[in-house]
């Protein structure tokens, strides 16, 4: 990979347009778009039939390093991200040690730079050790080389309303956002599966929707009260979407994400007690899935975020109640979104670009990402073939873990190439 490599991508359809055109990448940026482009010395990529999206941005990724390198590393997780079409990921803070100091977030940021598959933007913990009692040094993390703007205790809820209020207020000083994992801890003690017909039949402790919705309602009110930016992680219920729609109608500074798995899968899959379907928040009902899709389509939910949560085999080959929560998702995200949103007519490709690149980059305060493709845009882009359905198989891909809930399922589409700063990280579906 030379610094001054230039690429001419021919015959491509830019998301949101119907016409085929060419894209010229030179010097790390998009320098030209048009059907008759030519550039002597440029490498040619025949992209006939492919869709070009601005490089995808994930607001919610667990890279597991430091601490759980048996499940994933920054190297393997970002490789998986590139294969999924991502050019930037936000690395969640629940590592060991927790990313609650400038030292840890800078380490993760440097590991991302060294890996080079995509940009890694660390997320800082809201509270020390994710323990929910004392604010972490948010300002120091913001001022560090990692330039942290998103703070989250993801995996745990900032349940104390006073602490949540203070966190929201405090990060205003540096344009930060608090990303809340909305889960009332008392209402979900020992909870295993969405509370409903399935949990009743399977004898698994129920996880009520209200445990999520109650926290979201409270936090929307707090965000309005102090005028601070709130982001809701992995929204999973119809009621949550309704509350967020109401908060947005008031003009309050609230944003939200939904995972690919909550757009496609339901709690019925727990029928055989296979913990590959165990996730936090839990899979919900078909009615919830339909409402989440509608909310993503109308913009109530701003973006798709993977919540890529790799776990080693032994954490899932166990009894349901003993198993770890979480699913991998980076390598299948775009394909799942095509199936759930595009093939159903709910979202067009311009909408996908908006929900998977433009808006997540904006929420993450990630400058230089999420810029619609046009002359002068950064050279981050994803080339996708929407007409290449294939069955998901494990082990496959780059993630160290194989806890994908989509194994055996046929999904549409294939990420053909990913470019980061004008340089391919993936070509012909393989890492460069």
């Amino acid at each position: 990979m030379t610094d001054h490599e230039s690429w001419l991508i021919r015959g491509v359809t830019i998301a949101g347009s119907d016409a085929r055109t060419s894209i010229l990448l030179d010097g790390g940026a998009v320098t030209g778009i048009g059907p008759d482009l030519d550039h002597p010395g440029a490498r040619i990529l025949d992209a006939d039939g492919l869709i070009a999206l601005p490089g995808l941005v994930d607001l919610h990724t667990h890279l597991r390093e430091p601490g759980r390198e048996d499940a994933e590393t920054v190297q393997t997780g970002t490789a998986a991200a590139a294969l999924g079409g991502f050019t930037a990921v936000h690395a969640m803070a629940n590592t060991d040690p927790v990313a609650d100091t400038a030292g840890v977030v800078e380490q993760v940021w440097r590991l991302g730079r060294a890996a080079g598959h995509c940009d890694v933007q660390p997320v800082g913990a809201v509270t020390v050790g994710l323990n929910g009692t004392r604010l972490a040094e948010l300002g120091t993390m913001a001022d560090s080389a990692a330039r942290v703007r998103v703070f989250s205790d993801d995996g745990r809820c900032v349940a104390d309303p006073l602490l949540m209020r203070r966190a929201l207020e405090y990060v205003k000083a540096f344009d930060g956002v608090i990303a809340q994992h909305a889960q009332d801890p008392r209402l979900t003690e020992g909870a295993q599966l969405n509370e409903g017909e399935m949990s009743a039949r399977l004898g698994l402790a129920g996880w009520p929707a209200v445990a999520e919705e109650g926290i979201i309602a409270r936090d929307c009110l707090l965000a309005a009260h102090v005028g601070s930016a709130l982001h809701i992680c992995h929204v999973s219920t119809a009621g949550s979407a309704e509350i967020i729609r109401w908060a947005k109608s008031k003009g309050w500074p609230v944003t939200a994400e939904v995972t690919p798995h909550h757009l496609l899968l339901t709690d019925e899959l727990a029928d055989g007690y296979d913990p590959v379907f165990k996730v936090n928040p839990p899979l919900r009902t078909a009615d919830d899935v339909a409402e989440l899709r509608r909310a993503l389509a109308d913009g109530t939910i701003d973006c798709v975020a993977t919540d890529h949560a790799p776990h080693p085999v032994e954490a899932k080959e166990t009894e349901w109640s003993e198993a770890a929560f979480g699913m991998t998702g980076l390598e299948t995200a775009l394909r799942v979104v095509q199936r759930a949103m595009v093939d159903t007519g709910l979202l067009d490709w311009a909408g996908v670009a908006d929900r998977m690149s433009v808006r997540p980059a904006r929420i993450g305060r990630l400058t230089g990402h999420g810029v619609p493709l046009g002359p002068g845009a950064p050279g981050h882009l994803t080339l996708y073939d929407p007409a290449a359905p294939a069955t998901v198989v494990t082990p496959d891909g780059a993630s160290k873990s194989r806890n994908t809930p989509f194994a055996g399922l046929e999904l549409p589409g294939r990420v053909v190439a990913t470019f980061l700063r004008g340089v391919p990280t993936v070509l012909d579906g393989k890492l460069t």
């Binding site: 295993q192 509370e195 409903g196 017909e197 949990s199 009743a200 039949r201 399977l202 004898g203 698994l204 402790a205 129920g206 009520p208 055989g272 007690y273 032994e314 080959e317 166990t318 009894e319 349901w320 109640s321 003993e322």
Partner: protein, 318 residues
């Protein structure tokens, strides 16, 4: 669920009647001086018990031994499980030892399902968490049928019988299996409990629901009392044991309001004075001791049919 007995819901009416009728055949054995059949000679049955349950374990052990099977008791205490071996590794070990059937009792719902993926032999669910306990339901159905369907009940279902199950349904594997099996056999099941101890989605079950035990008594042919755990009180499921007992306990006064033929059941172990009064437990209506004896017979029938090559569902698709 072929080869296995994991959920009472996997049994068709024909399957359930086959088990009950086989148990009737085997019941005669208990009255003979030599209580043993050679049927399962050379077969190995493992009792894999992750929870203390002496009564269920010895019931399965007696059932297997009366069919001449070799029985290995594997208790979580004092085994490698205490050192942190996973269920899968234990399953592979049992597989390597050539277990023809594994009887599993486990604190996690779904443990029997998982085990069935990892062993070739038959898996019998002897209680998994708060999910199911299908042989308990079979022995209860067997007991009801004997008491209320005459001396030769072979071939008979439980059609039209009204069974009221009382207590902590939410956490009860006995209740889940009984609702499924008894309704399959034609009984009309009503669950009577405080709302906190019923699953929120209980409306999707094949039974009726009542919060008022007293209104159910006069129309019940069978009252089945469930054990109530003291620790439910601290988790705010009900205010006090005394109040629970007052509203949902079966005492002599309530028993007197049952129809003359009605029976009282309890899967044991009982909390005398909490969900059931001593004079009720010891009355002629009580089937509690019979249930224990019938447990051995019914489990013999299940082992006999599963290891004898019968697949459930025996008739058509599940």
């Amino acid at each position: 669920m072929k080869r296995h007995l994991i959920s009472a819901g996997d049994l068709s009416r024909a399957d359930a009647l086959l088990i009950l009728d086989t148990a009737e055949e085997l019941a005669g054995l208990a009255d003979r001086p030599i209580k043993k059949l050679p049927t399962l000679r050379g077969r190995t049955v493992v009792n894999l018990f992750y929870e203390d349950s002496t009564r269920t374990r010895i019931s399965f052990e007696a059932a297997a031994k009366r069919l001449s099977a070799d029985v290995i008791n594997f208790s979580a205490k004092g085994s490698s499980v205490a050192k942190g071996e996973s269920l899968k590794d234990t399953a592979l070990t049992l597989e390597a030892m050539g277990a023809d059937a594994v009887v599993i009792r486990h604190g996690a719902s779904g443990a029997a399902h998982r085990l069935a993926h990892w062993v070739r032999g038959s898996v019998l669910n002897a209680g998994d968490g708060t999910h199911e306990h299908p042989t308990q339901a079979l022995l209860d159905a067997f007991t009801i049928r004997r008491r209320l369907r005459g001396d030769n009940p072979r071939g008979a279902g439980l059609d039209g019988l009204r069974v009221t199950i009382v207590g902590d349904v939410l956490h009860s594997r006995v209740a889940r299996s009984n609702v499924l099996l008894l309704s399959t056999l034609g009984a009309e099941v009503t669950l009577a409990a405080p709302p906190t101890l019923l699953p929120l989605a209980v409306g999707s079950w094949p039974c009726a629901v009542s919060y008022d035990l007293d209104s159910e008594l006069a129309k019940s042919d069978v009252v089945m009392m469930l054990r109530v755990q003291q620790e439910r009180m601290t988790a705010a499921y009900f205010p006090s044991v005394r109040e629970y007992s007052r509203r949902y306990g079966l005492d002599a006064e309530r028993m007197a309001r049952l129809p003359g033929h009605a029976i009282v059941m309890h899967p044991g172990p009982m909390n005398r004075g909490v969900e059931i009064a001593a004079e009720v437990a010891d009355s002629v209506r009580s089937t509690i001791v019979e249930q224990v004896a019938n447990g051995v017979t019914t489990r013999m029938a299940v082992l006999y049919l599963l290891l004898g090559g019968t697949e459930f569902p025996a008739t058509g698709e599940a």
